[in-house]
């Protein structure tokens, strides 16, 4: 391999963030009009670091920030535009595994899944029975 190396030139604006903002605006209009939800996959877009910073700054921060610990950290952050959410999932070594802007009232990943609720109900019932038995044994002993 030839000597020397090229620096990573990712500090230039390409106009991508403006295009994404226009798309988010259209999606918000649709959500307000008839409840249509939509998402933009940010990882699939050839954005430079500068584009990304511009996009984040333009969307700003809203009232809600949620952190999830699911096989790595995930953050769900409302932007300054209600209904537009910035969702970032991280995997091994805190690296970003997927990142999207979701346009919806509440991102699906925040809601508890019916299967998990069913399991939780069963678990709590079992824990209560177990505690009750332990207490009964302690008071008898």
């Amino acid at each position: 391999m030839p000597g020397g190396g090229a620096p990573c030139q990712t500090n230039r604006l390409t106009g991508m963030s403006r295009a994404i903002l226009a798309e988010v605006a259209r999606m918000l209009e649709a959500l307000a009009a008839d409840g249509t939800t939509a998402s933009i996959d940010l990882r699939s877009l050839p954005m430079t670091d500068a584009d990304r910073e511009q996009l984040e700054a333009s969307l700003g921060r809203g009232e809600v920030v949620a952190e999830l610990e699911i096989a790595g950290r995930s953050t769900v952050r409302e932007t300054a535009y209600a209904g537009a959410w910035w969702i970032c999932h991280r995997g091994a070594n805190d690296r970003v595994s997927s990142e999207e802007i979701a346009v919806c009232p509440v991102p699906e990943i925040l809601a508890s899944h019916p299967a998990d609720i069913e399991s939780a109900a069963l678990r709590l019932k079992e824990d209560l029975l177990e505690n009750h038995s332990s207490q009964a044994e302690a008071s008898n002993g």
Partner: protein, 374 residues
């Protein structure tokens, strides 16, 4: 990962359980499925809204038996898929499959290893996946054997009752480096030796997400993803590196590095003139990148080698621009640098079409010479 249900963990994994039930018993919540599905939808270039369908499909699927065969290869493809250093969302794929045979990773060796392969074939007849890395030598069966079984024989008997075959790496998909001129072993691609559906995941090695994403797709949608004319999933091989390269604007402006240490290289200009094969290489390196999304060769200052294209090893030199390649067809790409993107795309298509024709002719010639020697 959620750990609240750990006390319900079963002693052994039950293959008849759905993945949803199996992982719930291990304390893995449905949110984990949704997170994995969001990751999978992203790497498969599906709309993020497809994540729910993927999560539901995975939760309802059964654990998939996989037999991994390694022939004339360097184990780089296995290194690629097992690259993660700590448990993470990307590794959930290893909970979704039962890797019943992989002679590099499994504990068993010798006859016991082969018995594991035979048992998996018997117990999952018609329903197991075969993953193959490495090419098959046709000039002499003795060039590459495992437990005394030739590569060709092992492939034929293992794929006979498989649901589908995934060829990973440029050796299994196109003959790769073992098949490079003068191809001393008569190496051929897997697809030339079976009538089963073969999904080609080319690259040296393939991007790990191409492997895990394809398996996740097979499990979620119980079908084969849309493939290109070389049998590769369009989600990963549908666009040229060049089309998604962040240096593309410099190409459009005619700003090229002339060497690896000139001002153009320092400015991060297009690497076309120092041999980048991005315009004729179809892969997802520019978007998925490598090492968990850290970088890819062009971002690190080196041109694309074209490793996911047929015969990349024999295409005229890694540091020669496409315009100086020995093959006349490749010279079409030179025009791309001069006349711009539209002409560039047309030139790339012309290059690919002609190159594939030439490679097929070359492979036929090798095949004929192999038959004569045998």
């Amino acid at each position: 990962m959620a750990d609240k249900n750990r006390k319900h963990r079963p002693q052994a994994l039950k293959t008849q359980q759905t993945l949803g039930d199996m992982l719930a018993e291990r304390g893995v919540s449905r949110r984990s499925f949704l997170k994995f599905a969001a990751y999978t939808a992203s790497i498969l270039a599906l709309p993020p809204t497809a994540a729910t369908a993927i999560a539901n499909g995975l939760a309802a699927a059964r654990r998939q038996s996989v037999i991994w065969l390694s022939f004339q290869e360097c184990t780089g493809c296995t290194e690629s898929i097992t690259r993660a250093s700590s448990p993470s969302i990307e590794d959930l794929i290893f909970d979704f499959i039962s890797l019943d045979y992989h002679h590099t990773l499994q504990n068993a060796s010798g006859h016991l290893a082969e018995a594991a392969r035979e048992q998996a074939m018997e117990e999952n007849r018609g329903d197991y996946l075969v993953v193959v890395d490495g090419s098959i030598p046709l000039k002499n069966d003795g060039y590459s054997t495992i437990a005394g079984i030739s590569n060709r024989q092992m492939l034929e008997e293992t794929v006979a009752h498989a649901k589908a075959v995934i060829a990973v790496g440029s050796c299994a998909t196109f003959g790769g480096i073992p098949g490079a001129n003068p191809n001393p072993t008569g190496a051929v691609a897997i697809s030339e030796l079976t009538d089963k559906p073969v999904i080609n995941l080319s690259g040296c090695p393939p991007i790990p997400e191409a492997m895990t994403g394809t398996i996740a797709y097979l499990l979620s949608f119980a079908g084969i993803p849309e493939l290109d004319h070389l049998g590769r999933p369009k989600a990963f091989y549908g666009e040229a590196i060049h089309d998604r390269c962040y240096r593309r604007p410099f190409y459009e402006k005619g700003q090229f590095a002339k060497s690896f240490d000139d001002e153009g290289a320092r400015q991060g200009w297009c690497l076309y003139e120092v041999g980048c094969k991005g315009p004729v290489t179809y892969n997802a390196c520019a978007t998925l990148k490598w090492n968990g999304g850290v970088s890819f060769p062009i971002q690190s200052g080196h041109g694309c080698l074209g490793c996911s294209e047929p015969g990349f090893w024999d295409l005229g030199g890694f540091y020669k621009p496409l315009s100086a390649a020995k093959d006349d067809a490749l010279k079409y790409a030179a025009g791309a640098a001069v006349v711009g993107a539209a002409a560039g795309a047309a030139a790339s298509m012309a290059v690919r079409a002609k190159r594939n024709k030439l490679l097929k002719a070359a492979q036929a010639a090798v095949s004929d010479s192999g038959k004569e020697e045998n």
